[in-house]
């Protein structure tokens, strides 16, 4: 009996290390580096002949296609436990996404963790290259450890430069960008695109808006949008154009308009917005796109010491009418620019037809790429000024 007990005891003792030492995935938290932003540039001295000749990179014939830059904050500094740089940056050239990771691993003492990635930046040069664009987007879609909510940016500068910018706030670019994009009063003149939504838009209507980030005078700025189509960037929108595009998409709720009525500039602050798009085919087989936009707003600036008071229903009517004329025209022009110059369906007209006019869509879906640029657009922007402040 005793012998049996001893045997069981020995077995249990032998079994414990077998079970309790089995954690293959253990990484202590202080050994991790939480990457907050990754940037990709195209490798400039691009030796394509080498690439075409070889199926695979070898020791003698390295192929460089990307410059990959990653940044992560100095967590110890944030916690106040250590002095030093507020963030670290590692940059490397590589043939692929994964290769870049392996290269950096040779130089850095931390284990990289991309679960908390906040921003990804493509240089426009890279975004113009369909192959590279698709390679990286596929990685992001495929990986189980990349956050779909991360912000995607294109930049006219080099992504490396953007990430190396000193934000002046003792924080790294990734966290800075995240705060910038998610603050209470959102910037109205830059597109909003998280990775997941851009992928969905590209899948559904082959067109998406990606926010742009630029470096001006050593500071970062979010400005305008890049237009994505066919997995490349086909054009960019300026700040006002982006604002207007977002109004047409119904995403910009709070906007300030500066408008000239009776020779005086006044400012209308839009507080709410309802956008409705209707697309249909007329009898001659032409596609029409109609936008009906209903906005509400306040006059927040008029003219000091003037006999024409804003506190007057007739005057407010005039303001409304003027805005209807001016803004409707502006929005129509923007739609036509995107439609005719870039031929991108970012307003999802095709999707609308597919969902609400399936019979029409069945007829035209094969030739949609040719039909879309010829569609006629009409925008009816209705501003309703509700309040004028506390001054007559």
């Amino acid at each position: 009996m005793d012998r049996k007990r001893i045997c069981i005891f020995i077995l249990i003792i032998a079994f414990i290390p077998l079970i309790s030492s089995g954690c293959w995935d253990k990484v202590e938290i202080d050994e991790r580096a939480f990457i907050t932003a990754i940037g990709y540039d195209k490798y400039e001295e691009d030796d394509r002949s080498n690439e075409e000749r070889l199926e695979k990179e070898t020791q003698e014939n390295p192929i460089n296609r990307y410059i990959r830059t990653a940044t992560y904050p100095n967590v110890a500094l944030i916690a106040g436990k250590q002095e030093g740089e507020p963030f670290f940056i590692y940059s490397t050239t590589s043939i692929s996404w994964a290769e870049g990771r392996r290269q950096v691993a040779l130089r850095d003492n931390k284990n990289y963790d991309t679960n908390h990635l906040k921003a990804m930046i493509f240089s426009e040069e890279l975004a113009k290259d369909e192959t590279l664009f698709r390679e990286i987007f596929d990685t992001f879609q495929r990986s189980a450890f990349l956050n779909r909510k991360l912000h995607f940016f294109v930049t006219p500068n080099k992504a490396q430069d953007i990430l190396m910018t000193d934000t002046g706030k003792n924080m790294d670019v990734g966290l800075y960008i995240e705060e910038l994009m998610e603050k209470e009063i959102r910037p109205t003149r830059a597109a909003r695109g998280d990775m997941g939504n851009i992928i969905i838009d590209l899948n559904e209507s082959n067109g998406a808006l990606a926010p742009r980030i630029v470096k001006s005078k050593d500071r970062l700025k979010i400005s305008g949008a890049g237009i994505l189509k066919d997995n490349t960037i086909v054009g960019v929108l300026g700040e006002l154009e982006t604002r207007n595009a977002l109004i047409l998409k119904g995403e910009n709720k709070v906007v300030d308009y500066t408008i000239k009525v009776d020779g005086k500039f006044l400012v209308v602050n839009q507080t709410d917005l309802q956008t409705e798009m209707k697309a249909y085919e007329d009898k001659e087989g032409k596609i029409h796109v109609n936008f009906t936009i209903n906005a509400e707003g306040d006059i927040i600036q008029h003219y000091f010491e003037t006999p024409e008071k804003a506190f007057d229903a007739k005057y407010i009517d005039r303001v409304n009418k003027k805005m209807n004329e001016v803004i409707s025209k502006e929005l129509e022009d923007l739609f036509e620019k995107i439609q005719k110059d870039f031929e991108v369906d970012i307003f999802k007209v095709g999707e609308h037809l597919r969902k609400f006019q399936p019979d029409t869509w069945e007829k035209i879906k094969e030739d949609w790429d040719e039909i879309y640029p010829k569609a006629k657009v009409k925008v009816d922007f209705q501003m309703n000024v509700r309040r004028v402040g506390i001054e007559r």
């Binding site: 908390h116 450890f145 997941g196 992928i199 399936p358």
Partner: protein, 370 residues
């Protein structure tokens, strides 16, 4: 070694049925629906739910004819004796193969999302050891465990999915009824993997104390399963759109990954949800495992069945590692549920019920004549 009296009540049967069916299938369900039916996904799901309810009611009818019997005894009474053993044996093999494939799918999901450096062999073996502990404890413990785990795994998952509501775009389900009806019908068998597990009711009713409530339980279980499927499919497709859903292997897990609860410091809540969801997969496999063990012990006519799960464990382990890759696992699962699943879920119960009408009549006739 009689730890319990081997009796469950119909409420426990409800939990067992629901948690057996909801498991791995739902994770890829929106992909199958989006691929097969496009915008008509929910209609296809509704159609398959209704058909499944009919099948469930047919099975229930069969059970009510032979209360407190399991599939072997039912077949024996309907037909003649050795057939029961044969049918029991094929059911055993069927459940057994299903377990091996599900164990592998479970291992792949865990390795993909949670333990990426741990070898899959270790994940599977530890999982199976845990499972046989529950299986050896008998039907009563399993039933209690099912009652505990059902809300624990489903409520957090649904709660997390509801957080995605502001981002939903229900126009994804337009235009309605544009898919040819023949295509919808043809797609139905592919949805069977999502409902597989229900046929085990042919075994569970043997243990049920209050037989008169079984019909109610069956209807509410199918209703509940369909409701959960509706919620997940509706939210997932409305969130990602049809095109994206076709590309995602487990759209529902991606949905868990996609949400972040506003205003919390906690990011990546999907790890918690995955962990609770694994509990439900664990129960799916444990319950099926018990079903297989029970059938085998009946076939072997052994009174003690506690040693059987231990013997089966190495076989399941080895078989689960047979498919070369994740694509092959799902390939096998698809084919298995379409061709084999259909036979065991629909054909055998319907046939038995049909023959039972026939044999009863002749038996009565003989009695009258004799």
């Amino acid at each position: 070694m009689d730890r319990n009296n081997d009796m469950i009540v119909s409420n426990q049967l409800f939990s067992i049925l629901v948690i057996t069916v909801i498991g791995i299938g739902v994770l890829s369900l929106p992909r199958i629906l989006a691929t097969e039916a496009g915008p008509d996904s929910l209609i296809l799901l509704l159609l398959s739910s209704i058909i499944f309810l009919i099948i469930a009611l047919v099975t229930q009818r069969l059970i009510m004819k032979f209360p407190k019997q399991n599939i072997i005894e039912i077949t024996n009474s309907v037909l003649f004796k050795p057939i029961g053993i044969l049918v029991g044996l094929v059911y055993f093999i069927y459940i057994f193969i299903l377990i091996t494939l599900e164990v592998r799918a479970f291992g792949e999901i865990t390795k993909n999302f949670l333990l990426l450096n741990t070898p899959i062999e270790v994940i599977i073996i530890i999982f199976l050891i845990t499972t046989i502990y529950l299986v050896r404890s008998g039907i009563e413990s399993i039933a209690r465990m099912a009652v505990i785990i059902l809300p624990l795994s489903i409520i957090p998952a649904i709660f997390i999915s509801l957080v995605a509501i502001p981002d939903l775009d229900f126009t994804c389900f337009l235009p309605i009824l544009r898919t040819p009806f023949a295509d919808l019908i043809r797609a139905l068998p592919k949805l069977f993997f999502s409902f597989i597990g229900f046929e085990l009711i042919l075994i569970w009713t043997f243990f049920v104390k209050d037989t008169e409530n079984i019909k109610k339980t069956v209807i509410s279980a199918v209703g509940f399963i369909s409701l959960v499927y509706f919620i997940f499919t509706g939210i997932t497709i409305a969130r990602f759109g049809i095109a994206e859903n076709k590309d995602l292997i487990w759209p529902v897990i991606t949905l868990f990954r996609d949400v972040d609860i506003p205003g919390t410091l906690v990011e990546n809540v999907e790890v918690v949800i995955m962990a609770t969801w694994l509990l439900s997969i664990f129960m799916t496999i444990a319950i099926s495992y018990f079903g297989a063990v029970f059938l085998l012990s009946r076939i072997l006519k052994s009174k003690e069945h506690n040693y059987i799960p231990v013997i089966l464990l190495p076989i399941i382990y080895v078989l689960s590692l047979v498919p070369d890759n994740i694509a092959e696992v799902y390939d096998y699962l698809d084919k298995f549920s379409i061709y084999v699943g259909t036979v065991f879920v629909i054909a055998i119960p319907v046939m038995l019920l049909f023959i039972s009408f026939f044999t009863k009549k002749t038996k009565g006739g003989i009695r009258k004549n004799g």
